[in-house]
Chain length 446, copies 2
Amino acid sequence: MQEDVHRLGLAELKAAYAARSLDPLAATEAYLARIAAEDARLRSFITVAAEAARTAAEESRRRWRAGRPLGPLDGIPVAVKDNIEVAGLPCTAGTTAFRDRIPAEDAPVVARLRQAGAILLGKLNMDEGALGATGDNPVYGRCMNPLMPDYTPGGSSSGAGAAVAGGLCAAALGTDTMGSVRVPAAYCGVYGLKPTKGAIPGEGVVPLSFSLDCVGPLARSAAGLEIIASLLLEPLPRAFSTPVPSPSLSELRFGVPCQLDEVELTGEVRAAFNRFCDALRDAGATVAPVDLASWHPGKARRAGLLVSEAEGAAYYKARFGADLPGLSAAFASMLRYPEKAGVMRLVAAYETIETIRLDCLRAFADVDVLALPTTPQTSFPHASETPLNQADCTALANFVRGPAVSLPIPTEGALPAGMQLMAPPGDDRRLLRIAVAVDRALAARL
Amino acid sequence: MQEDVHRLGLAELKAAYAARSLDPLAATEAYLARIAAEDARLRSFITVAAEAARTAAEESRRRWRAGRPLGPLDGIPVAVKDNIEVAGLPCTAGTTAFRDRIPAEDAPVVARLRQAGAILLGKLNMDEGALGATGDNPVYGRCMNPLMPDYTPGGSSSGAGAAVAGGLCAAALGTDTMGSVRVPAAYCGVYGLKPTKGAIPGEGVVPLSFSLDCVGPLARSAAGLEIIASLLLEPLPRAFSTPVPSPSLSELRFGVPCQLDEVELTGEVRAAFNRFCDALRDAGATVAPVDLASWHPGKARRAGLLVSEAEGAAYYKARFGADLPGLSAAFASMLRYPEKAGVMRLVAAYETIETIRLDCLRAFADVDVLALPTTPQTSFPHASETPLNQADCTALANFVRGPAVSLPIPTEGALPAGMQLMAPPGDDRRLLRIAVAVDRALAARL
């Protein structure tokens, strides 16, 4: 049993605790052993909080033994991206500038995890300042994809993808500005949610872009993703908080944006996406094209990047001054760009995003969910050139401000591809239910 | 009968047509006569389309005579703000620069009105470029409040407020960037809706701010507002399109932002708002304070203004060049300001707005509706100084992107005040139903 702990999903861990075939301290020790054995290679952690984790695990064990666990996350070993504040642990945001930044309080998302009894194993590696998508951190090491030596786990929540996929934690929190939860989920073959903007508390996080950033969870199954997301999601406006019935795929309409043709998908991802759509149809769903006339993926991604850089610059310049000391030359140069580009180009970028948002909301009048690949390619070697289009398909959900789930499916090659489901803002709980149903249908068919 | 046509609401006009006590041509002639008699004083129209209106009214009369009207708007005389395109009529946006701009096609909102049989009387006066709130247009004349000589109707949909209140059209379309539908509705004692951003088509409109602009209707009753708004609202995302039951006020929770204390309300408006809240409580509703911690109304309004100016500048500079020929010196100077302010101040303004948006969405988890005055004061003489805080209470709904209705109530003085109800984005139809119920409760109590 013990040697398979790192493969268990959230519901399975809970069941094992309930059945007393495993306890939270033993599970935590198993994960800490995995980290000790594997992370010199994976570089998924920046900080490991072994002693605090053991103490929390003992408390959880007492609750389970007393038959009074705090809920489905009690005793679950998790880790969080290093731009999310945990009291007493460094919060580097992947940059030297914040190397000695030690917050006194937990971010609200971390506090919720702790209150639910989750065991915090440590803080996860990331692209510097959350701007990037390969996990090649210049200070804290090159994070690796556990599925293939020397391949990227994606980013910017690189350590979150690598640690969940590699069995170094059972679930993780990342952040997602243009795809930073979903890209590593796709490359590492796990599940990730970018929630509705504001639906998961964003306080206590080193920001990149106040308008696009979201905190989002990653897990090894659709069911696990739903369990951890349910804890983190804010209550919704009363008008929308009617309970969502479990969806039947045969009643759902999936839209595939025509403009996906403008994204250079690899043959492997294209084939996987076609099989994904076929499987949805086999399961009784309607899959239909939708026209997002204003969405030109490349132009849109560049607009999102300019906005992220401008909003990131506002944050870092206010803290460090215009010279941006402590930031790598590459990161600082990106943050300096918007002031060179000027007010009118920045306004044009915001307009591109707003126009796409309205187009997309209109599309949701006709379809329940948008379906598209998460990334145009599967993971690639760190040593090869980084494709520019990694966020072409993911940034769309950040622009719309709505939720998106990435779920993995096999390709004809050695690595998995991510498939993405997007729903209207506020529809997070419904989307998670749909993702579970889709995942089940895929498992039966692929 | 004929002399009272201009006092009838939308439902009453329809009933009169159905009963054959009035026909659309006679109603149109009555309105055209009102315009001829009153508008030299009110200056609410920039263009009157009398002949086209008569032709359309004859067609509507034929449909009514044949017992086949197109719906509740068939034969209703309406007018639209002069930044909304009507095929063949000048669309000046209140500026000399567009004096000779004659679009070939109707804006989608105008097309919908026509397809529903509405009679288009003409185009309405406005603040230049929709940036302002007094209706003192430097080119097309100083628009007057029909309730009090030489007083402002508010703006920027000045002609819409004045024409609806003065009985020069039965309903009107305005546009609202920070309050431009609701401020004139409040000052002129009529009803106005700012919809969810994107919920009423915004194409075919000369923009000011792509992120804040909305087209919205004005009418002389809450029921009339609901009738015209229902025609204009887009279908909603499927998840939200379940039918909304008629609300009972006793099941509703109204939130009053604590931060209203930072707005300098006149004693008259403060007293009216208190009576409004008392009447809601009398009707069985819960009225409770809510904390919008990030909302500092003055700072927020200035952020909205900078964003509006920057986004407006992008539009006008792209069309006319950086020198902005044909714009008044005052308007051009406002549009030039953001480039002087620079990228970082603009980003800070966008951040102020986004932070307020998220705070407000969170508040809607606890309350169904936010209640606040529409404007801090009632209408004032054109000759007196313009208060800076006119949009303090209205801009909030533009920031949130959700719907807001302004409804009039009497004050202790000679002029009415506007009371505002705000709901979460997408909740437009429910809010309109609530406004009708609130209006009925107020009529019984005030």
